[in-house]
Symmetry: C2
Subunit: 333 residues, 2 copies
């Protein structure tokens, strides 16, 4: 559990895209983003107040989040001075970089001396149990994709936002590093040891109110041979009551697998449903989320209408429109 | 890679079952078993020559394998004197216990001083790659089960034995601790980090001769929600050309999951085939392996005949008969 709110560290980000983790925090949990800290030469700007460490501290920030990635995921020597000063100022640090905070002896030493915490969200911090498959109270919805990186996290966050707006009870459950930094907690599922994957998902989505929805961030794809096992652990550990199918229609092959074609939404439906029924006989597919970022407005509308007719399910692009219709479908379950 | 041959350490095993790892080594790789080492009060006996450390060393043994498990998987203090003496005598140590050899400071110190290796086969010793899904040369067969612990390892070892006897080229590929100790190498898949599971299986079953078969030890079950992700990583990383379905017909529920019923062989077939086709469009189910240990001879024969008729595939119990008919089915592919 990372202490919120945050000061978002953008470092010397070469462009806006390099700060996409910070952008995600600001977009989805603006209440967690007290301000931004930019170094000389920083080309990213979230439109937040630029703050010194002292100003952010005074404004209530508790953790400095490394919201920027450089090539190689390295903690740059140029950043070190700021990170050390932040620890001394009383901030915890949180990062999703490959280069772990805990691998840096100077940061570890200063954190210990100051009694501060270093959160590397790529590394599990909990001893997860082995899944027991017992039926839990409350409801769960999981985003599953035809491929990796088709918008499953975005869909889940948009669904959470829409459900809260409609007065439904929901919690976004992060399973990847960006999601964990956005919300301050979650399970870095890709780093969990195989035997404990499904148990980690059970741990993440415990018993809850009967009318509460956990919105579980999906990972990988049943069709992506590199990560399909992680996907199935989410399906079975998540004990999903509802599934949202996610798709990016312009992709020519699976991400990183040039020999593998992208399955259709029908193929995904037919593959995922019997697997999900193993853990929950009543599971339903409630809607389709299409990432139409590479389509024009008219093309996107036509595509969504065609998918909706073919699949007999609401099909939306939550970025262009909202996830309201998916939330309505869950409410109607 | 554990150095063979072995001296099999049975310690103070309270009964024969406690020495089942050692029994597996002796049954399946007798050439790896130079002799046995039994302490006072040992109730297990593999029928191998009892040897002192000196005698085993002289007979060529290179590694002392802890072939016994006590309650809790602990390295008993009573064993320590022998394990230390073995290191001093020039043996490496290998163990699949929960209590790791490397967690014992005295063993670590002596091993270092003597230049010996400690192999904890529960712990991955390789940085596995992320799976790339590229088609590999050679053939692969995978055992998949309706449940955990239905005889997948036994089936794979029996198939390997039958294929070698018939002059076919085959290699048993261990994915669990017992299999790794039996053969001296493999991947402890349940302990691999999620993102690398499928890559570990690719690593384990690399390019090979066109007429060579890797016989991959299965793990878990697609229907067992605790471990199904591991199973799918095997299916996709293994890129199976052939599948053998494994079943134990007297089980009343899935192992450790009292609320989950055991699927039928038809349900397993219908679930596994489309998933396996993602990685290998030409995959075929070649036969059924039934664990009939809880049935009488006549009951077993009748059951196998019924399964064979229903499924249209050879159905054998490799323990009662042999895996010859499964090997023939692979040869005919």
């Amino acid at each position: 559990m990372i202490k919120t709110p945050y000061l978002l560290f953008l470092g010397d980000a070469p462009d806006q895209l390099a700060a996409k983790v910070a952008q995600g925090i600001k977009d989805w949990r603006p209440e967690n983003a007290v301000g931004q800290f930019r170094m000389e030469g920083c080309k990213a700007d979230l439109g937040l107040t630029d703050m010194t460490l002292e100003e952010a501290k005074a404004a209530g920030a508790k953790t400095l989040v490394v919201g920027v990635a450089n090539r190689g995921g390295i903690i740059s020597p140029a950043w070190k001075k700021v990170l050390v000063a932040a620890l001394e100022e009383g901030f915890d640090l949180a990062s999703g970089l490959h280069n772990l905070l805990r691998e840096e002896a100077d940061l570890v030493a200063v954190a210990e001396a100051c009694g501060r915490e270093l959160h590397d969200v790529r590394v599990p911090e909990v001893d997860y149990p082995i899944a027991n498959g017992k039926k839990r109270t409350g409801k769960r919805v999981l985003a599953v994709g035809t491929d990796c990186s088709v918008g499953k996290m975005y869909t889940a966050l948009a669904l959470d936002e829409a459900m809260r707006r409609k007065g439904m009870k929901s919690t976004f459950r992060a399973t990847g590093q960006t999601g964990i930094l956005i919300t301050g907690n979650g399970v870095p599922l890709d780093a969990v040891v195989a035997d404990f994957m499904a148990g980690a998902v059970e741990w993440l989505t415990p018993d809850n109110d009967a009318d509460h929805w956990d919105i579980i961030e999906g990972q990988g794809s049943l069709f992506h041979v590199s990560y399909s096992g992680v996907t199935l652990a989410l399906i079975h550990g998540g004990q999903a009551d509802a599934l949202v199918l996610c798709h990016e229609p312009t992709r020519t092959h699976l991400r990183g697998l040039p020999e593998y074609s992208v399955p259709t939404l029908q193929q995904l439906r037919d593959m995922v449903l019997p697997l999900a029924q193993v853990a929950n006989a009543d599971v339903k597919i409630v809607g389709i989320s299409v990432n139409t970022q590479h389509m024009g407005e008219a093309e996107a509308e036509a595509y969504l209408a065609a998918v909706e007719a073919e699949m007999g399910l609401p099909a939306v692009d939550p970025y262009r429109h909202s996830a309201d219709r998916l939330a309505d479908a869950l409410a109607a379950l």
